[in-house]
Structure formats: C-alpha cells, structure tokens
C-alpha cells in the first residue's frame, strides 16, 4: 500500500504512478495536480451507502484547454492510468465528484469555464464543461438575450454539460435535456478531437443548429458513456415566452395518480402542456415545509396516516401536479380552459395558481424551476432523514395511469421493508415518465447504511424482473443496472469501448462499460 498516495489505480505500481504524476505536472503545473488527502477531500464525499474509500481517487487534474487534455490522454495511454472526467462535478445522489472505481484519477474540467457563444436569434449556446447554469443565467441576463434555461433542481451549482451528458432532466418545455443538445467537441482516447454533426465540416456554421450531420449520429454514444471527453457542448435555449402561468393540481389519494396520468398524457403529447410536468408525492414536497420528527419517531417508514395528516397540516396534496403554460396571454387563456376542463371533470382535483399559492414555499421553487430560475430549495429533502445519505432510484415508466400506480406501490412496499420512506415523483415526458425516488437515509447510522444498500439492490432486482429499466444510476450500482439490459447491449458497448479506447483509460466502469 502506498503512503504517498491515498489510493492507486488498479494494477498500477507506485513507481509507475510517480512517473505519470510527474508527467501530468509537467503539462499542467504543480498547482493543477492534486494528490494529498487534504487536496482530494472534496472529490471523496459521496451520498452512497458504501465506504467513501471505495471511490477515493488517486489524484485530481485540473485541465483548462483541449490541448492539455490531449496531452493528458497521451500520458494515460502510456502508463495505462484511468481518468474519470467531471465537468461541474455535482452529480449528487449519482456518485458526486468521485470516480466509479477506487484509484481512478479525476479529470476536473470545472475551470474550463468559458461561455463561447450565445446566439440570440437562433437561440443556442456553446459552452465549455465548467460553465454552471448560474454563470450562463447571469450572462444571459446581463446581455439581455431574452432566453430561458432548463435546469435540474441543483441549478446554481450544476452545469449543462455534465447534466446533459448524464442525460439529466429539467422542468421547462426543454426539460428532456439531451433532446435539445446540438453538437459536441470530444477529445477521443487517442488524442484526436472530434466535432460531432455539422461540426466535423470545415467552415460550417450549422454546428449548433442541425443535430444530425451526415452518416451515423454519434452524439448519443458520448452520453452516459466513457468513449470520449467532451470539451465543448452546444444546446438550444428557449426564447422567453411573453407570458408564463405555473399551477399546481392537488389530489388527495395515492390511487388518484391513475386519473392524473390519464388526463396529463394527451395534454402533454398534444403540447397543450408543454413542459416536463412533475407529479410529486407529498413526501417529496414535505421537507420544504415540515419536519419528519414532528410526525413520526423511532425506526420504520412513515405510516400513511401520518402522511395524510402532514399533507393536511401543510396544504399539500398526496399528489401535487406541477405544470405551466407558456406563450402569449391569448394562448395561455385558451389552454388554461382546456386544462381546467380536463381536470375539473371528476371533482377530485384542486387547481391552484400563483394567485392562491404564490407564497407557498413548495409552489415557489417549483415555479422557479419551470421557468429556469435559480433555486436550491429542493435540497430540503436532506433534512428529512438527516445524515446526508441519498441515492436516486430512477426507473422509467410508461405515461399510463395503471403503470404509475403499480410502480409507486411496488417502490413503497420495498422501501417500507427496509424502514425507508417513499420520497417519490414522476417527471412526465410525452410518452414516458422518469419515476424519481430519493432513497434517503442517514449515512452516519451504520444500520441505515446497510438497509439503504440492500433496499436499493432489491429495488433494482425486482423492477428489472418486471421489465422496468432504470434510466440512470449511482456509481455503486452501474454494473448491476448494465446487467439488467441484457448481454447483447453490454457486448456492443464493450466492442465500441475496445475500438475507441483500447487501453481502457477513460472512466472504466461508467454505465458498467470497461
């Protein structure tokens, strides 16, 4: 075991690693190469129920140019040293800034943070990996560009490149982020620089406006993958609409999700409701307003009766449907009529707008997310259990009422077995939904750590047995999820890996690919 380093890459001797580090330093300078425990501390903490030492990096490198990255991959190939790339590094609940495997070197691109272009007319941006949503938001405001961002709930501290490369989601009409990605620059493992789509053509000015280019579409293979290092990233922005009307529709029973989804789906597919609607369970919203300890003490998951009381006390539905209308006032008025008629039929829905609940903290942050404004209010989730443990369980569901009820009930039942609560929501695509459950537990309590690990494992096992696949997962469970998609896909992923990165230097283990 090394004394000089807190970890070493798998199969690499300290002596070889010394040489690699010396070479990294000669490219980046001493100040941009971290190896001490103190320097690496912010790369180690994760929210997963495994020892942080399982994911401790051996070093971290801060590159700021494409040329430096090309040289870094050269060094990695020479010494067979693996690197784990992060952009803004806030993949909280999916592995944070730590690598998939102990000993990998983190390549931290946060300092590569130039906004290269924002085109007002064509409504697109081209940015480097370290740009945060907040930086871009301020830039757009300062230059009065009249464009809206779509961002995940950790908005201010996360960024479009890392989020989209992990196929993350936001809450505006542009909420399915990878749908709105257009053109990447990628450093390949052999040091070559690929610009995808129209970017491959010399003198083209259509890199950020036409996604497909010519021949096989390549952008997809650089998402949730380890086939390249993305150094520039283009994506579309939404022109600020003249009017915006956020609303929430509350329902009182868990079974009502069937009705909700059956009403939402046609509205969503036809575009009457254009944004990524959220159907949030009371327990997802509760932490913004309530403390768990006021409703339940001792071990075990929170009983239904307590959830009902909590919802009543804090003016929450058991389900809370957050959606918005965008456009001219006339368009909104017309669509509002359609929405209220559709939801008004059964008499079960309580429809609320800014007028009634504009000051409600849950409504406020949801409305902010639906117009791409900064808020970190959702971090309240972590006050529910305390102790900083979290994993996102994220199975995909059809946008069909019966399916959502089935997934919810199944999730709740498995969580309860391990004494954990159902902090869940459905993020509505057009035909699909991301069923997102924050598996919250106290990471300082060894009993809960063990329970959370086993629970998550069981959730994946049971869901995949029912044909429900997971869209994204934390680094401790990537192999397990890769397995659920079957051997053929896994082999194709491996074949691509071999062809593009024969020495396996780029993020081995990402999505189970080595």
């Amino acid at each position: 075991m090394s004394n000089k380093y807190i970890a070493l890459p798998k199969g690499i001797s300290e002596k070889t690693f010394d040489s690699a580090i010396a070479d990294f330093r000669s490219v980046l300078g001493d100040a941009a190469v971290f190896t001490s425990a103190q320097q690496l501390a912010p790369y180690i903490k994760t929210m997963m129920p495994v020892p942080d030492s399982d994911h401790a990096p051996s070093a971290a490198l801060m590159a700021t140019t494409v040329e430096e990255i090309q040289k870094i991959v050269g060094i990695c190939n020479r010494y067979k040293v693996p690197i784990w790339t992060i952009s803004t590094g806030k993949n909280l609940g999916y592995g944070s800034a730590a690598p998939a495997e102990r000993g990998q070197v983190v390549l931290d691109l946060k300092r590569m943070n130039r906004i290269l272009e924002v085109d007002k007319d064509l409504a697109y941006a081209l940015v480097e990996p370290g740009v945060t949503y907040k930086q871009l938001y301020d830039y757009i405001a300062e230059h009065k560009l009249g464009l809206w961002l779509s961002m995940p709930a950790p908005s201010a501290i996360a960024g479009p490149v890392g989020n989209t490369l992990d196929r993350g989601v936001g809450y505006t009409p542009y909420g399915e982020h990878f749908l709105f990605a257009c053109g990447m620059e990628v450093v390949l493992a052999n040091g070559e620089v690929l610009r995808t789509g129209m970017g491959s053509m010399p003198n083209s000015n259509t890199w950020q406006v036409f996604k497909w280019g010519y021949g096989p579409y390549l952008d997809g293979i650089f998402t949730q993958s380890n086939y390249g290092i993305v150094t520039k990233f283009g994506f579309w922005l939404m022109p600020a609409p003249p009017a915006f009307k956020p609303f929430v529709i509350q329902y009182e029973n868990e079974e009502d999700i069937v009705e909700i989804v059956e009403i939402i789906r046609p509205l969503r597919i036809s575009g009457v409701i254009p944004n990524a609607v959220v159907i949030a369970h009371a327990l997802y919203e509760a932490p913004v307003k309530a403390r768990r300890s006021d409703y339940v003490t001792g071990p075990g998951s929170i009983p239904d009766a307590a959830v009902r009381k909590l919802a009543k006390d804090h003016h929450l539905g058991i389900w809370n449907v957050y959606a918005a209308l965008y456009g001219t006032q006339e368009q909104i008025d017309l669509n509002w009529k359609i929405v209220t008629q559709a939801f008004g039929k059964s008499g079960k829905a309580k429809i609320l707008t800014e007028r009634e609940v504009g000051d409600d903290p849950a409504f406020k942050y949801r409305a902010a997310l639906m117009r791409g404004d900064m808020t970190l209010q959702e971090f309240s989730l972590y006050n529910w259990r305390g102790g900083g443990g979290s994993m996102w369980f994220a199975p995909v569901s059809q946008a069909r009422g019966s399916e959502t009820l089935k997934q919810m009930a199944l999730t709740k039942q498995i969580l309860a077995k391990y004494g954990l609560d159902y902090s869940g929501e459905f993020i509505v695509g057009m035909r699909d939904m991301h069923h997102i459950v924050d598996v919250l537990y106290d990471k300082t309590d060894p009993g809960q750590v063990k329970a959370a690990y086993q629970c998550f494992d069981e959730l994946l096992t049971i869901f995949s047995a029912q044909g429900y696949g997971t869209y994204r997962v934390n680094t401790a469970f990537m192999d397990k999820v890769a397995e659920t998609y079957g051997p053929v896909q896994r082999q194709v992923h491996k074949t691509l890996k071999k062809a593009l990165d024969p020495n396996g230097i780029l993020a081995p283990g990402k999505s189970g690919i080595r």
Binding site: Q39, A41, P42, Y43, I44, K45, M47, A60, M62, T64, T65, V66, E67, Q70, G89, K90, L92, S96, A97, D108, K110, R111, M112, N113, R114, I115, L116, E117, E128, G130, K134, Q135, D138, Y139, H143, A156, I157, G191, E192, V193, R195, S200, P202, N203, S204, V288, P361, M374, T375, L376, Q377, F379, S380, Y382, N383, G386, G387, G388, S390, T444
Partner: protein, 109 residues
C-alpha cells in the same frame, strides 16, 4: 467574460472558431485555444456567498451562517469537506483565494 463587450466576444469567437475549423484535419488545432483566462472568476466573498452559499444558508434549507462570527478556518474546512448533506466544493469551483475572501465575509457579516 462578465466585463467583455458581447459583440467583440462573439466576433473573436467566430474568428477563433473558423481558424479552428480550418485546421480541423490537424489535431493540433486545439493549440489555438489557450485563452482560458477569459473564463469566469469570482469577484469577492459576497459574490460567492450570494451565488452559491446563500441559496441554502440564506433560506430554510441549511443553517444560517451569517451573523455567527464563524471562524474562517471552520468555514474553509466545511466548504472543502462538506458536512452531512452539504456537498464539498472543490478549488476548481471556489479557488483558495476566493474561499479566503468568502470566509472573511461570512465571519464579518
């Protein structure tokens, strides 16, 4: 980027992009792009507080940190290591110099 004239930035960008594109066949084209100093830099401690910390610690999410004369050493340690659910922040996000200014700001306000 904050202080540059947008028109100039875009023109300069288009120029550097077409230079880069013209050299596309050659991977050395990347060498043309070494102006990383044009990226984002923190102005002072207030800016870091308001654009990062304040979202949680100025509202109901995390504990209040202003008005408690928290020692800079403590702030530095929490920022770099995180604490329970609070994620750590790396020097690539908040550089040491800006962190020192932030810690001073938090202690004094």
């Amino acid at each position: 980027m904050r202080k540059t004239n947008p028109v100039r930035t875009v023109t300069a960008l288009m120029l550097s992009m077409s230079v880069a594109a013209a050299m596309m066949a050659d991977i050395a084209c990347a060498a043309a792009e070494t102006n990383a100093d044009k990226g984002f830099r923190w102005r002072d401690g207030v800016e870091v507080y308001s654009k990062v910390c304040g979202y949680c610690h100025g509202g109901q999410v995390g504990p209040r940190i202003l008005g408690r004369e928290l020692p800079p050493e403590y702030i530095r340690a929490i920022v770099r290591n995180g604490s329970r659910a609070m994620p750590p922040f790396r020097p690539s996000e908040i550089d040491d110099e800006s962190l020192a200014k932030l810690a001073e700001y938090i202690q004094r306000n």
